[in-house]
């Protein structure tokens, strides 16, 4: 119940934020003048006409970062519950967390070795 209560606030705030945006983007439609130039709606590219559209296959480097991030972020999310109760357990918890972190670090080392960080 309390959870629902809390998150109804979140929903409410999201709606109010969205409403703010909608009002602010509808208002100019009423009060702003229009321009009628021939190229007004063409995509901007330094004053030139673009060659080909922008929807292209993009360099794979960025996607690799996406993959490694996914692994990391989920692991980090697992770690938080452990850390909250960390003080209550002894050194056993410490060893487990260390092992976990070491495994995580291996992921970076692997990516490093594979040349993810050298773009040239």
């Amino acid at each position: 119940m309390s959870l629902l209560h809390d998150y109804s606030y979140v929903l409410g705030f999201l709606i109010i934020g969205a409403g703010f945006v909608i009002v602010n983007t509808l208002l100019p439609l009423l009060i702003s003048p229009r321009s009628r130039g021939a190229n007004a709606q063409n995509p901007y590219e330094s004053g030139e006409v673009p060659i080909g559209g922008a929807w292209v296959q993009f360099d794979v480097n960025y996607y690799l970062f996406g993959l490694i991030f996914l692994a990391f972020d989920v692991e980090a999310a697992f770690l938080f519950p452990v850390l909250i109760v960390f003080k209550e357990f002894g050194f056993a918890a410490f060893y487990e967390v260390t092992l976990f972190l070491a495994l995580l670090s291996l992921a970076i080392l692997y990516a490093w070795k594979k040349g993810l960080f050298s773009w040239r």
Binding site: F13, I108, W112
Partner: protein, 331 residues
Amino acid sequence: MSFILQEIIKIILYGTLVTLFVSVNALFLIWLERRVSARIQLRRGPIHVGWQGSLQTVADAIKLLTKELVLPKESDKFLYMMAPLIVFAPIVAAFLILPLGPHFVMRDLNIGFLFVFSLTNISFIGIFIAGWASNNKYALLGSMRAVAQNISYEIPLLLSTMGVVMAAQTMKMSELVAAQEKTWFIATQPLAFLIFFCASLAEANRAPFDIPEAESELVAGFHTEYSGMRFALFFLGEYTAIFISSAIAATLFLGGWRSPVPGLPAGSLAGPFWLLLKTYGIVFVVMWVRWTFPRLRSDQLMNFAWKVLIPFAILNVFVTALVIQCQKFFA
């Protein structure tokens, strides 16, 4: 029934107040930024519109409101129009969890600051949508960079807070402030604070990590095709994100609403004041950094996160864990 009505009225009241605060705060921050940068750059900045240029950003806002909203011909029009909404709305909700005083927090969620991180990540989806939907190459490059940067710096941001969570044994914002009654976490977790600061700079697209909107490379980055109020909303979102991340940093590491000098009042009235003061202090440093350093290259930026910040953040978690267990063992 009346309870639900009461709550709905509360939501609307709080929500409107927060939105109002967001607007006024962003206008103030932009004015501050222009004055601060001017000071650093041997000039005056806006001084003629209103007292000390105080109406400058108001004039800018009204002007942007009356500008034409261009809808590029070849864009994905629905996504193009949705993007500012996706960027802006979550940032408003992020204000929910800020503890302003001892008994003054709108909603004290269990997951605390993680909630803010998740919301700012939604903003980044908005930024990506903005860049992609514009069908503009500069915008596409900007949004690609934004996403890669955001996900890379998300991890040191999370890892740097782990030390604090371990020490405080909670993620609730109010309890985190309570845990700093004796010493602020900046004293026990200085490395974590540094990492958090760097990562939040990057999360907010601020120089020297401002590659998504690098003016000299990508013209205006992901919002190249946005005009008028849509562009202003991105700007509003950006400055509010800076404010939020600074406020989180102030709460996690600088004692939140507690007064910096013992003995001074820090109640429900003075609490928000101290929090704002600390937050603006951090925002000032953010601006100072921006006007001092050149920009990193995109690959160097990624490498800084993965090769420097994350290893140090992991080290920080490790050392904190060790110290906590040793303290317990010897005590």
